[in-house]
C-alpha cells in the first residue's frame, strides 16, 4: 500500500518542531527580542499562499472575492516581511562588543 503524502508532510512538521526546539534553546537570551521579530518575518512566508490566492482569478476577472482576500493577505504579509527583517537588522546592528582600548 502506498503511503499518504500527508504522512510525509507530518514527518517534516514533527522533525521541524524538534529542530526548532534545539535551535531556539541555543539562542542567547540577550537576542530574544530579535528572535521574535525574525520569527515574525519568516512566518510571513505565508505570502506564498497569498500569491496563489491573488492569482486565482481567471483571465477576464482578475478581481473576485477570493483573489481580493489574496491581495489583502499579500499586503499584510509584505508589511511583516519587510518590517520584520529590517527591524531585526536594525536591532542586530546595535549589538556591539566592548572596545579593547583599555
Amino acid at each position: 500500500m502506498e503511503i499518504d503524502p500527508l504522512i510525509f508532510r507530518l514527518s517534516i512538521f514533527i522533525l521541524s518542531i524538534f529542530v526548532g526546539y534545539y535551535v531556539v534553546w541555543s539562542v542567547t537570551p540577550s537576542l530574544h527580542t530579535p528572535l521574535m521579530s525574525v520569527t515574525n518575518a519568516i512566518s510571513s512566508v505565508i505570502i506564498v499562499g497569498a500569491i496563489i490566492a491573488g492569482l486565482s482569478g481567471n483571465s477576464d476577472t482578475i478581481f473576485n472575492t477570493s483573489s481580493i482576500f489574496g491581495f489583502l493577505a499579500i499586503a499584510l504579509a509584505a508589511i511583516n516581511i519587510f518590517g520584520g527583517f529590517l527591524v531585526t537588522q536594525r536591532m542586530l546592528a546595535m549589538y556591539k562588543k566592548k572596545k579593547k582600548d583599555k
Binding site: 512538521f13 540577550s30 483573489s67 499584510l76 519587510f82 518590517g83
Partner: protein
C-alpha cells in the same frame, strides 16, 4: 513554469535557510549573517511561487503592487519605530500574520480549485480540516495580538479585566470551536465557516483581556507561537514544505520563550493564561502595609556613594524603558568607568515587556553586550559589589520571594540585590510593583531610595559625579 518537484526542492531550501536564520542568533557575531539567510530564504520562496504558477498575465502586476505597498509600509515602520516600542511592534506584527492566515484560508475556501483542493462544497476532507484549524488559530492570533497591542500601547488599561463566569465562558467557546470545525468538515457549509471565524476572533479577545501588563512577555511569546501554528496549518492545506517547516520553527520558538518567561516568574503557564494576577492580591497586602521608615536621598548622595565604590551593578527594569533612561544611564556609566569603577548590568529574564527587551534597549544606548549579564551569571557577584543601582525594576529584586512562603511571588528567581553593600533604588514613589506587594528592599538598612523620574535622576547623578 517549473515542475512541482523542483519547486518543492526550492521550498525545502528556503526552509533550511530559515533554520539557519534562527541558528545565527546563538551569538551576536553570527546573528547578522543569520538574518541575511532569512532574507535569502524569503526571496527564494517568493520567486519559486511565481515560477511555479507561471501565469504572468494580468494579475501579476497587482501582486507586485501589493507587495510594494505592504513592503513600503513595513520598511517605513521598521525605520521609524523607537526601540522602546518594540513589544507593541511585535504584537502588531503577530496580528498581521494571523490575519493573513485567515485571509488565505478564506480565499482557499471560496476558490478551492486555484489551490487544487477540490471544488466549492466538495473540498477534500483533509484540506478542509487543515484549513479550518489554520483559520481558527489565525483568527485567535489576530484578535489576541490586537488586545496585547492595545494594552502595551497604553490605549487599553494594562490591568486585568475579569468578570464572573469568565473561565467557564471561555471553555464553552473553545469547545464550540472544536464542534464547529467538526460540523464544518461534515457539511462543508460556508455559513459555519464564517461562524467559526467570528467565534475564533471572539475567543482570542476574551483570552487576553484578563492578563495583566507585566505578564505581557508570556502573552507575546504565546502569540508568537500561535502565529507559527497558524502558518503551519495553512502550510498543510497548501502542501507547502517551506510553510510547514517555518510554522513548526516559529511555533516551537514561541513555546520555548513562553516557558522561559513563566520560569522567570515561577508561575505555571496556566496560572498566567487564566489571568487576573496582580488584581486580587491587593487586599491581602494592604493590612501589613503600614508606615515603615525608609531612607531617601538625592542625586548628590547617590553620586557620593558611587564615587567611593569600586564596583557597581546596574539592575534595569521596565521603568527604564518608560522613562527612556537608557542613554542617560550609559552616560552615567561612562563617567563611572572614567573613575576606574567596574560596572556591569544584571538582567532578570522577565524584566521589561517582552523577552530580551532590556538587552535591546541597552544595545541601543551603545552598551557593549559583554557587560550585560543574565540572572544566573551575575547573581553571585552582588555579595562582592559595592553599589547596586536599581533603575525601573521592582518585583524582580524583592527578597520576599526567597523568605516568605505566603507571598504571591514566593519561589520566583530574584536578583540578590540586598547582598550589595549599598543599594540605590530609583523609583517615583513607594507604590508596590505589579505583583501588588511591598518590596522589603525599600526598608533595608543599606538601601537609599531616590524618588524621581529615572532619566532625570540619572542625569543629575552624572552631573554630581
Amino acid at each position: 513554469m517549473i515542475s512541482a518537484n523542483l519547486s518543492a526542492i526550492f521550498y525545502l531550501i528556503s526552509g533550511v535557510l530559515f533554520i539557519l536564520a534562527l541558528r545565527g542568533l546563538s551569538s551576536p557575531e553570527t546573528s547578522r549573517q543569520g538574518n541575511l539567510f532569512g532574507i535569502l530564504g524569503m526571496i527564494i520562496a517568493i520567486t519559486v511561487t511565481f515560477l511555479s504558477i507561471g501565469n504572468f498575465s494580468n494579475g501579476f502586476v497587482f501582486v507586485l503592487v501589493f507587495i510594494l505597498l505592504g513592503g513600503s509600509i513595513g520598511a517605513f515602520i521598521a525605520y521609524r519605530i523607537p526601540m522602546t516600542a518594540m513589544p507593541e511592534l511585535v504584537a502588531g506584527f503577530h496580528s498581521l500574520v494571523g490575519l493573513a492566515a485567515v485571509f488565505v484560508a478564506i480565499s482557499a475556501f471560496l476558490n478551492p480549485e486555484a489551490f487544487n483542493l477540490g471544488t466549492v462544497g466538495k473540498i477534500k476532507l483533509g484540506s478542509l480540516i487543515e484549513m479550518s484549524i489554520g483559520a481558527a488559530v489565525g483568527a485567535i492570533t489576530f484578535s489576541g495580538s490586537i488586545i496585547a497591542f492595545l494594552k502595551l500601547q497604553g490605549i487599553m488599561s494594562g490591568s486585568p479585566i475579569t468578570f464572573k463566569g469568565q473561565h467557564p465562558l471561555n471553555a464553552i467557546i473553545l469547545i464550540s470551536i472544536i464542534i464547529l470545525i467538526y460540523l464544518l468538515c461534515s457539511t462543508q457549509s460556508s455559513n459555519l465557516f464564517w461562524i467559526l471565524l467570528v467565534t475564533s476572533f471572539l475567543i482570542g479577545f476574551l483570552l487576553i483581556i484578563p492578563i495583566g501588563g507585566a505578564d505581557m512577555p508570556v502573552v507575546i511569546s504565546m502569540l508568537n507561537s500561535y502565529s507559527g501554528w497558524a502558518a503551519a496549518g495553512i502550510g498543510f492545506t497548501l502542501e507547502n514544505t517551506a510553510l510547514i517547516i517555518t510554522g513548526a520553527l516559529v511555533g516551537s520558538s514561541g513555546a520555548i520563550l513562553s516557558y522561559i518567561m513563566c520560569k522567570g516568574m515561577n508561575r505555571s503557564f496556566f496560572n498566567v493564561i487564566l489571568g487576573g494576577f496582580g488584581a486580587t492580591e491587593e487586599t491581602s497586602s494592604k493590612s501589613n502595609k503600614e508606615q515603615r521608615p525608609v531612607k531617601s536621598g538625592n542625586a548628590d548622595d547617590a553620586a557620593f556613594l558611587m564615587k567611593n565604590a569600586s564596583s557597581v551593578i546596574i539592575v534595569p527594569g521596565y521603568g527604564m524603558a518608560v522613562a527612556q533612561a537608557q542613554h542617560a544611564l550609559r552616560e552615567m556609566v561612562d563617567t563611572l568607568k572614567k573613575n576606574d569603577i567596574k560596572v556591569s548590568y544584571a538582567i532578570h529574564p522577565v524584566a521589561g515587556r517582552m523577552p530580551g527587551h532590556m538587552n535591546v534597549l541597552l544595545a541601543e544606548a551603545n552598551v557593549p553586550y559583554d557587560e550585560v549579564f543574565e540572572l544566573e551569571e551575575i547573581n553571585n557577584d552582588f555579595a562582592n559589589a559595592d553599589v547596586a543601582f536599581v533603575i525601573g525594576a521592582n518585583d524582580v529584586t524583592n527578597p520576599v520571594a526567597k523568605t516568605d512562603p505566603q507571598s504571591p511571588i514566593y519561589g520566583m528567581p530574584v536578583l540578590d540585590v540586598e547582598k550589595c553593600k549599598s543599594v540605590l533604588f530609583v523609583k517615583r514613589s513607594l507604590s508596590p510593583g505589579y505583583a501588588g506587594i511591598d518590596n522589603d528592599l525599600f526598608y533595608k538598612e543599606n538601601t537609599l531610595m531616590l524618588f524621581a523620574d529615572a532619566k532625570k535622576m540619572t542625569e543629575d547623578i552624572t552631573k554630581n559625579l
